[in-house]
């Protein structure tokens, strides 16, 4: 059954028609990627799902976990079980690593379970964060910040984790490490959807993919098939 269903979604920034009626779905337990070049509308798609764009620009329907969440406010959508790792990481620079993680669990009342999750899950997934747990977020390296952003999003106990360009600005070895972590998160039962400009790693990691081009979905298939597709190869995998 689909955890997320998007029907004919449009997004307008004033007069600019950024998303032109896209439809897609993500099944529970799946890992789905949305690839596309700069300006294709990837970030707009994810932020609209999460309620982080202006609701008045939205047309269409977003059904998440059986509820129509179109136009909901961001914090309500997080409470409903959809978390997002934002583009550019967006950690809180003047809060410590642990405080950043605790903010991810803002809606969870049980303090002890939050501490336990930080210790048993997040620090196990990213041991580097434990070493730096009292450092300020702003003092971390790019890779560490990405780990922190993922850890923070995981603390809201999401059913669906959205990631916006997890590879952005990171060294290849770090990118590998981040994607290994994303796979582990999926293996633990969290449904994952991410957008990527690095199509190669995206299609080699996810199960299924959509190709977004100037606000429209132009292709949809398993990642295996997309990797073999001549058009995809030419446009997104460098020949």
């Amino acid at each position: 059954m689909a955890l997320l269903e998007v029907h004919d979604l449009h997004y307008y920034y004033g007069n600019i028609h950024a998303l032109k009626g896209i439809s897609f779905h993500v099944d529970a337990g799946e890992m789905v990627t949305l690839i596309g070049s700069n300006g294709a509308g990837k970030t707009t798609t994810l932020q609209t799902l999460s309620g982080l764009t202006e609701p008045k620009g939205i047309r269409g329907e977003i059904i998440f976990d059986g509820k129509n969440i179109t136009g909901w406010k961001g914090h309500k959508i997080t409470a409903a079980g959809m978390a997002q790792v934002l583009e550019g990481r967006c950690i809180f620079p003047k809060l410590t690593v642990v405080q950043n993680l605790q903010m991810g669990a803002f809606l969870i009342k049980d303090k002890a379970s939050v501490e336990k999750k930080i210790q048993d899950e997040i620090f196990r997934l990213f041991p580097r964060l434990e070493e730096r747990k009292t450092s300020l977020g702003g003092s971390l390296s790019g890779g560490e910040q990405q780990m922190l952003a993922i850890g923070r999003a995981m603390l809201s106990n999401p059913k669906l984790l959205l990631l916006d360009e997890p590879s952005m600005g990171l060294a290849p070895l770090v990118v590998q490490e981040i994607f290994e972590a994303i796979k582990k998160i999926r293996d633990e039962g969290v449904t994952v959807m991410f957008v990527e400009q690095n199509s190669k790693i995206a299609l080699n990691t996810a199960d299924r993919g959509y190709v977004l081009q100037t606000g429209e979905i132009v292709m949809e298939d398993t990642c295996q098939n997309l990797l073999a597709n001549e058009d995809v190869k030419k446009a997104y995998l460098g020949g």
């Binding site: 309620g51 406010k73 997080t78 978390a83 934002l86 003047k94 809060l95 903010m103 803002f106 809201s156």
Partner: protein, 291 residues
């Protein structure tokens, strides 16, 4: 002489610090420099005077009523004015102008309701002076010192130890990320303004009995409070406290040993020196956004 000047300096410093804290709370949690802070102090003094001096309620009750009213007013200012302009993309100096305009509107309202004559805030205690280490002090001033320190400590603990307080800071650092964490950013920003107005209420309730209640009360004193928060590092809660005490001590010592007409000038010259050595204040707080 020195001892009593130091005590007076500490008292004034703690008041400056508390006034500065009002600026710092909003700046830290929303990146806005609120020029209406001084006027909120004046309004609180008028409210306190009305409840205590006119209605004859006990001081503690008048304090609580003023604090509650100011909290609600602070939330209303944020929701009804600031957030509406923020939504339209008003920031920086443009927002500064809005808060300045707000201060003039509040001031005009005060003049309309309470008139322009100075009001005498009745004494809270029966004794007129207390002798502490050779300094003859109004008991109201000693109460100020304690209330200011307790208020600062409570605000500090709230902002740095509670989830709500840390969430308020998170909203200022990255509002979209805060919303994605599940924080209701609109509500959180409202709370911030409510809290800063409560700090103003505390200031007004302490300053009224000492200086009398006039339309210029907050405007005069809030300059020094602003200077305190900048000297300490804008947005830093300890900073406002330490900055306030430094300025209070300088003023008191210069006033006692040199000349009281020079005290502000010398305090500001020392402030220049502090900023020359530490361009972002004593606690090295980077500016959140351009003001």
């Amino acid at each position: 002489m020195l001892k009593s000047l130091i005590i007076v300096g500490l008292i004034m410093g703690s008041i400056y610090g508390l006034i500065g804290l009002g600026y710092s709370v909003i700046y830290r949690a929303s990146g806005i420099m609120n020029l209406a802070q001084g006027e909120l102090i004046t309004l609180s003094a008028f409210l306190g005077y009305t409840f205590f001096g006119v209605c004859g309620l006990p001081y503690g009750v008048a304090l609580i009523l003023t604090v509650v009213i100011m909290f609600v007013l602070g939330v209303m200012i944020q929701k009804g004015l600031v957030s509406r302009y923020q939504k339209r993309g008003v920031t920086g100096v443009y927002m500064l102008l809005i808060t300045f305009g707000l201060s003039r509107v509040i001031n005009g309202g005060e003049a309309l309701i309470f008139g322009s004559n100075a009001k005498r805030f009745p004494s809270i205690f029966n004794v007129s002076t207390v002798n502490i280490m050779g300094a003859h002090l109004q008991p109201e001033r000693i109460m100020c010192l304690f209330l200011a320190l307790i208020s600062m400590l409570l605000v500090h603990l709230f902002m740095t130890r509670t989830k709500t307080g840390i969430g308020m800071q998170a909203c200022a650092m990255h509002s979209k990320a805060a919303e994605a964490c599940g924080i209701d950013v609109v509500k959180s920003n409202g709370l911030t303004w409510g809290l800063a107005s409560v700090v103003a209420a505390m200031c007004g309730m302490m300053l009224g009995p000492i200086y009398g209640v006039t339309l210029m009360l907050g405007a005069n004193l809030s300059q020094m409070g602003f200077a305190s928060s900048v000297a300490g590092g804008m947005g830093n809660i300890y900073g406002a406290m330490v900055g306030g005490i430094i300025i209070g001590l300088i003023e008191s010592l210069v006033g006692g040993y040199v000349n009281s007409t020079w005290k502000s000038m010398i305090a500001y010259l020392i402030l220049f020196l502090i900023l020359a050595v530490r361009p972002t204040g004593l606690f090295n707080e980077q500016a959140v956004r351009d003001v």
